[in-house]
Symmetry: C2
Subunit: 301 residues, 2 copies
């Protein structure tokens, strides 16, 4: 059984929200930042957020850049955050977007699938080619671990290269999708999805539908919801095939406390912030499920 | 003045060798691995290698994957290696190949241009587009720091995506080169090279010549020499325009001690290993300079 099967089941059970712990210190209530280092504040905040969301989140995505930015103490907070999530029985994606040649990729795979920084899934960048993914696939074959490969992101710059039309037909991201889907034909889980999935950002409805239909065996990690402008309707197009993806939100959850009506920002504590985060996750989950229901009849008819 | 100007001057002064500290514990003489942790052995070995090569190396490239693979203690060794190199007055490239959307890229830039993991140059992956490079360029504009963007690598998988022909003409890597060169028109250093350069692996002579001519304002980081099969002649084609690149070798230098004639592997210590590494760097530098001399008349005539 692949981790991707477990993620599918987590979505079926608890809904499609992936809570993004891209925890910048400035997203934490000021009261919780006093008298502790930024890394300590980040870890403590992550823990209380996990406590308050683990029953309603499909998984967590931890963006390592925010921890690397704090240096060695930040990476200690990263390691401890990962360990805490896994101890709670939740799945965790290390958003590391690594991509390097084979020997080096093998070192990265060891770094992020074993030891201090062990996660269930990573994110990977495909620029250097399929051989840069191979050492990670060894872990899929041996331990069931998974990855999400960058396909089509939703940042403006995605037009520069990902969206380039190729002479052989299709765009660059489509070539990545085809190669990835091919590599997954031998690595199909019990729910029909491959061990490795893809990162696909919210996009226009026609393209989202086409992407979902075309790679119907790839599970999607869908970023860009909330603070980055994606809506529940956008996202639902990408995961509507039975539980075929998780939708990530980070800042809108981490900073939910800033939207508490009438609140004194200096007075809010981490438990109140985590409760606001929980409310945001529930709203997001319900909006995604409602959007999914809206779409399903059209698809079936 | 950009760091890239300093690197140009280091090449003019000490030759084009970039010493790659992709230091896996198993590359270190067994004697030096006893009674210490792998991370401690790596740091001690790096230090003695730097001591023995700093007068003949243009710069150092430290591949972070090998350190991440050792977890938190490995990243401490990474930070201490970087600090040691800079204390010795040498330039250092953090081979991190990061690439992410703008907000996250800003965190990565902070991580690798400031604090524990501060380096003079990083390597970057362009898949997500030019906006993923922008936060790094802020540092070029403010502090002179530099980067090498993945262009055309020499691993077999580079044919999968980098080498794809685009409908607008040219291959994907050429589109990356064009965009990068454009971004450098406003960031040209005193020696004519842009603040950011490119990673270009050893390739066939015609293509290497074409790449060098086309992006004559981009300084190249040239991997693939030695253990990966590239020759001095291959590399010289890529840096022949006056000091236009550094050529990296890692394993052939780190493991030079394994080629000492008649040596007892169990008896060799780190000083003997560093002396063998030094000899290898000198041979490599001299071979590159000889190959460069061979080519120059043909270019001038």
């Amino acid at each position: 059984m692949y981790m991707m099967d477990q993620l599918y089941e987590a979505v079926a059970c608890r809904g499609p929200v992936c809570v993004g712990l891209d925890t910048a210190a400035e997203y934490i209530p000021p009261k919780e930042r006093r008298d502790v280092s930024p890394a300590e504040a980040v870890l403590a905040y992550n823990r209380v957020l996990v406590d308050h969301t683990k029953d309603i989140a499909a998984c967590y995505k931890v963006q390592i850049a925010y921890y690397e930015a704090l240096g060695r103490s930040g990476l200690t907070a990263y390691a401890q955050t990962l360990r805490y999530i896994r101890e709670q029985g939740s799945l965790v994606i290390g958003d590391v977007k690594r991509g390097d040649i084979a020997d080096t990729a093998a070192q990265y795979a060891r770094a992020h699938f074993e030891g201090d920084f062990a996660v269930d899934f990573v994110t990977l960048s495909p620029y250097m080619g399929m051989d840069s993914l191979e050492p990670w696939l060894v872990y899929a074959d041996r331990t069931g671990k998974g990855a999400f490969v960058l396909l089509r992101t939703s940042n403006p710059g995605m037009r520069d290269f990902e969206y380039q039309e190729l002479k052989i037909g299709g765009r660059l991201y489509e070539a990545v999708g085809e190669r990835l889907a091919l590599a997954m034909t031998q690595r199909s889980g019990v729910h029909g999805y491959g061990a490795f999935g893809a990162v696909v950002g919210c996009t226009d409805p026609a393209e989202a539908s086409a992407i979902r239909e075309r790679w119907d065996r790839l599970f999607f990690l869908i970023p860009g919801y909330g603070a980055q402008g994606g809506t529940a309707q956008d996202a639902a197009l990408l995961f509507r095939k039975a539980n075929g993806g998780v939708v990530n939100a980070s800042r809108s959850i981490l900073k939910a406390w800033t939207r508490i009506p009438g609140l004194d920002p200096q007075g809010v504590d981490k438990v109140a912030a985590a409760q606001a985060a929980r409310d945001t996750v529930i709203q997001m989950r319900d909006a995604l499920c409602a959007a999914l229901q809206d779409r399903e009849p059209a698809e079936v008819s």
